[in-house]
């Protein structure tokens, strides 16, 4: 079980999610967009969707082990 590629990939993905969802990356996107509203929601939702799609890709592919 240890060192299986799926396991390592999931841990990596979790770390990526943490980086994307936490300051300071988060602070970069807390700025007004063209309408004057903050674009933070657009960023969080997009990052979230990317993480979900990556997770689907990692979890649905055949484990080489």
């Amino acid at each position: 079980m240890k060192g299986s590629p799926t396991r390592s990939r999931l841990v990596g993905l979790t770390l990526l999610a943490l980086v994307l969802f936490l300051p300071p990356i988060l602070l970069l996107f807390d700025r007004p967009g063209s309408l004057g509203l903050s674009i933070l929601p657009v960023y969080v939702f997009s990052a979230w969707l990317v993480i979900i799609l990556l997770a689907a890709w990692v979890l649905e592919r055949k484990d080489e082990n």
Partner: protein, 909 residues
């Protein structure tokens, strides 16, 4: 259409449908054709996470505190990413140990401790109470809005005697429904497949209802999302709503809520129930790992538009926008659908939560007390399996009534989301015991108990107590000035930690105390043997060999076990235990044959499934005599298992290596035998070859000696033969010597630049006489330029002459012709000798280079004398190989006979 009766009828019909789905699910489960055996259903059942709090509260939170509502869903996304090994581990442990709840799990992990079971149950009941209250509140308010809009809902809810309070009746209806729905089985240890099916259905309903409301807002009230956002942006007071500044506590609050929701997602009793206990197949965790986050994504995508639209409308409580927006537009059907969606979100949560809590209460609060009353043991006729269900039903009713009380007394002072987060923080107190317990063997029951109590007290002080103060139960000076005016004890700013949002603040202090006590006390106190065993079993759960060890070595009779099981589990379940182990005779109380350790272990597991691990152990101890549990043995097994595994692995490696070497040896042996055979054959051939000329020499010499009357012509003929045969003999010996030199690598070559064309001409000259004798025409096709190669000229000439000699022997009898050509190929010179004979078939082309091949062939064919010794070609090939060249046979190109080619590397002269 929105009358009291219509809404009641719709609401009850919805509950009826749930009931039917649950009944269907249970029926299919009994038939063995489970409808919940799919990762999709599993993911939808986990979505019980989205309660009325999500359905109504997210919009409220988005309207008031911006994006912070999303954190409650990002956390579970993180948890599900790690679920494939973390949640799966919990599932595997729970299956092996028949765990029934999170209280059971923690109690079992720390040595099946009764005390921990009680503690976790109490914390869960107290901590989750606000959450249940919240659902009751949501149902009541949404119903009031549906029937009374545009009446102010608080008006409708104004303080009334409880008999006229709708929340009270909602609680009663739900209690009855859940009792009918969740505790119908006699065998209380089974999973609730019907419930899970109904919950999955509810998840679909609430998602559709929420999306419908969102689509209505965006595309009906406004002309698409851009229109909505433009209008929101034009309002100066709304511009800041979506930024990080709106989030309470800013960046710290953001991180705190994210951690809080990640932990609570696993430790909330109902989440543990659907994630771990109700899981059918651990492989489902994999796909649910992305389907569930996708569900969360979908149910949140419309939150911000609805919140903005609500703010633009500017009417009513933000918690109600989902319902008030369609109501204000004067619609009839949509509000009803939204109400059903909210109802499904609330009922789903209440159903699973109360079932999980009632199991905990009956197994960890009530049963331990009952088991300590001696009279229960003394009356064997009393069947307790019925009691279990009774206890659970009463527990469900009490939990809902407590929820109602909380709602009636303090519920008004909090918004929906605030209440939910209070419960989250309480549930998070289980996280250290649960997660550390999965990976760290050192934690023990004392440390865990200390950590839980400490964390719970801090939680109560920093979140629950100030809540009471806010609702007016306590003096609000507690919050502003601290108790007795001590400023550093202010509940929202403990030890002067100011400026944090209250949840991050409470989470930090409570987890600090919790983990600190757990680790600290564990490090300075001892584990009992049973604790060590359980710790090892839990932390090593993903290792396949761990769970199978039967633990019981004590003695008891089958009859006693039968009585015990029968009393607590009922007849059907007991029969199942005994027949599972292949016993053919029907068990009876009078059976006094000794029970096997496996049977004792099975009975304990079955009892654990119904009563929790701590109680089951007490019961088994009451009938098993002798040292019941040989923990030392088990421990040593577990500790040595990893070593043994390591040894095993190495042994396996060694044995594969050995097998490989053996295989190689066998191959080498076969080759050696072949070589040996070849050597014998070779010696036989050589002797034969040498004997033939010797015999004729001897024969003719004898004739000459014994017959003086032989004529001089005959004499000279005989002498000719003797000379020829001697020459043949010496040539043969020379060849054999060459061969020996070649094979042993002792052949010395005098390498120098040689012009191949020159050499070819010389060879042709040398053999002219022979060709003339045999009447063979030789033709040379040589290139204009000089063909320089590095070679020993004598040896190379020997090879060419040998080839020419051979060719002349195999030409066509009439019109015998041989062609020798020299041509160049990338960095190589090719000398080819070709005859116009019959050629050599493809599969024979390599065999002609074997020693004595020709002889064998001829022997096979006609038995006539061979035309050569059969050593020429092998020697030639050996010589050419020593020149770093190639000698091979191929199909003729010019004369269509046999063609032999020498390839040698080109050099500069």
């Amino acid at each position: 259409m929105r009358t009291e009766w219509v809404s009641l009828a719709v609401g009850f019909s919805y509950l009826g449908i749930l009931f039917l789905i649950a009944a269907w699910g249970d029926k299919r489960s009994i038939q063995g054709r489970s409808i919940i055996n799919s990762p999709l259903v599993y993911a939808l059942s986990i979505a019980v996470y989205c309660t009325a709090w999500t359905f109504y509260g997210s919009v409220g939170r988005a309207a008031e505190t911006g994006l912070s509502f999303l954190l409650v869903y990002l956390g579970p996304t993180l948890a599900m990413l790690l679920g494939w090994f973390m949640i799966r581990k919990m599932i595997r442990i729970s299956r092996a140990q028949k765990i029934t709840s999170i209280a059971d799990f923690i109690s079992a992990r720390y040595g099946k401790s009764t005390r921990l079971g009680v503690l976790v149950t109490l914390i869960a009941v107290i901590g989750v109470m606000p959450y249940i209250a919240l659902q009751l509140k949501a149902i009541t308010i949404s119903h009031a809005l549906l029937t009374g809009y545009p009446l102010e809902p608080t008006q409708a809810l104004a303080t009334k005697a409880f008999l006229f309070d709708k929340s009270f009746w909602v609680a009663i209806v739900l209690a009855v429904f859940i009792i009918l729905f969740g505790t119908r089985h006699l065998d209380a240890s089974e999973r609730h497949e019907g419930m899970v099916a109904a919950i999955a259905f509810e998840s679909i309903v609430k998602l559709l209802a929420f999306l419908a409301a969102g689509i209505f807002v965006v595309f009906w009230l406004y002309q698409g999302p851009m229109d909505l956002f433009e209008q929101a942006a034009s309002r100066t007071d709304l511009v800041g709503t979506l930024g990080l500044d709106a989030v309470p506590g800013g960046a710290v609050g953001w991180v705190g809520t994210l951690i809080l929701s990640t932990l609570a997602f696993i430790t909330l009793p109902r989440q543990f129930q659907v994630l771990v206990i109700e899981n059918v197949d651990e492989r489902h965790v994999k796909r649910a790992g992305w389907i569930f986050p996708l569900y969360l994504f979908a149910i949140n995508i419309m939150v911000i538009p609805i919140a903005l639209a609500g703010l633009l409308m500017g009417d009513g409580s933000p918690d109600d926008y989902v319902l008030t927006l369609p109501l204000a537009a004067g619609l009839d059907a949509l509000p009803l659908f939204v109400f059903i969606g909210g109802l499904s979100a609330a009922t789903g949560m209440v159903i699973v939560e109360t079932i999980a809590l009632s199991t905990m209460v009956s197994n960890h609060l009530v049963m331990p007390v009952l088991l300590r009353w001696k009279w229960l043991h003394l009356d064997p006729a009393l069947n307790l399996s019925g009691w279990l269900l009774g206890i659970r039903r009463v527990a469900i009713l009490l939990i809902l009534l407590l929820g109602y009380l909380y709602h009636a007394l303090i519920g008004e002072s909090y918004t929906l989301v605030t209440t939910g987060l209070v419960s989250f923080a309480a549930a998070s107190q289980f996280a250290p015991a649960l997660l550390l317990g999965l990976y760290w063997r050192g934690g023990n029951a004392k440390g865990t108990a200390a950590g839980l109590v400490g964390g719970f007290i801090v939680w109560g002080y920093t979140l629950l107590l100030p809540g009471f103060a806010l609702s007016g139960w306590l003096d609000s000076s507690l919050i502003n000035q601290g108790p007795w005016g001590i400023a550093w004890l202010k509940p929202y700013a403990l030890f002067g930690l100011e400026g944090w949002d209250i949840y991050a603040h409470a989470l930090f202090w409570s987890l600090l105390v919790n983990i600190g006590l757990l680790v600290g006390v564990s490090l300075f106190s001892r584990q009992s043997n049973l604790e060590q065993t359980q710790a090892a079993l839990f932390t090593e759960a993903l290792r396949p060999d761990v769970m199978q060890t039967p633990l019981w070595l004590g003695q008891t009779t089958k009859g006693e076990l039968y009585q015990l099981a029968n009393r607590y589990l009922g007849k059907v379940a007991t029969l199942k235990i005994f027949t599972q182990l292949g016993s053919t005779e029907s068990p009876s109380a009078a059976d006094d044959t000794p029970a096997s350790p496996t049977l004792i272990a099975h009975t304990e597991k079955a009892l654990t499934g119904a009563l929790g691990s701590a109680s089951a152990r007490v019961l088994i101890n009451s009938v098993v005599r002798g040292e019941a549990l040989d923990i030392e043995a088990v421990l040593s097994i577990l500790d040595t298992t990893s070593q043994a595994l390591e040894y095993n692995k190495r042994l396996e490696q060694k044995s594969t290596e050995l097998a490989q070497i053996g295989e190689e040896l066998r191959g080498a042996n076969v080759r050696l035998r072949e070589l040996d055979k070849l050597k014998d054959e070779f010696v036989a051939m050589v002797s034969h070859e040498l004997r033939t000329p010797l015999t004729s020499i001897r024969a003719f010499a004898e004739i000459l000696r014994d017959s003086p009357e032989v004529s001089p012509e005959q004499k000279s003929h005989f002498l000719d033969v003797i000379v020829k045969e001697s020459e043949r003999l010496s040539r043969l010996i020379e060849e054999i010597l060459d061969l020996a030199r070649l094979e042993s690598g002792r052949m010395r070559l005098d390498l120098k630049p040689v012009n191949l064309s020159e050499l070819a001409k010389d060879s042709a000259d040398a053999i002219t006489q022979l060709y003339d004798d045999r009447q063979v025409a030789l033709k040379l096709l040589l290139p204009a330029e000089e063909a320089w190669v590095k070679a020993d000229p004598d040896r190379l000439q020997q090879v060419v002459i040998n080839l020419l000699d051979n060719a002349s022997k195999f030409t066509s009898p009439e019109d015998a012709r041989v062609v020798m050509t020299i041509s160049s190929k990338t960095n190589r010179w090719l000398l080819a000798v070709e005859d116009n004979g019959t050629g050599i078939v493809t599969e024979e082309r390599d065999k002609v280079f074997e020693k004595f091949h020709q002889i064998q062939q001829h022997k096979d064919a006609s038995g006539s004398r061979p035309k050569g010794s059969g050593l020429g070609l092998p020697i030639s090939r050996g010589i050419i190989t020593h020149h770093q060249g190639l000698l091979y046979a191929e199909a003729g190109q010019v004369l269509k006979g046999a063609r032999f080619v020498i390839e040698l590397p080109t050099i500069q002269p």
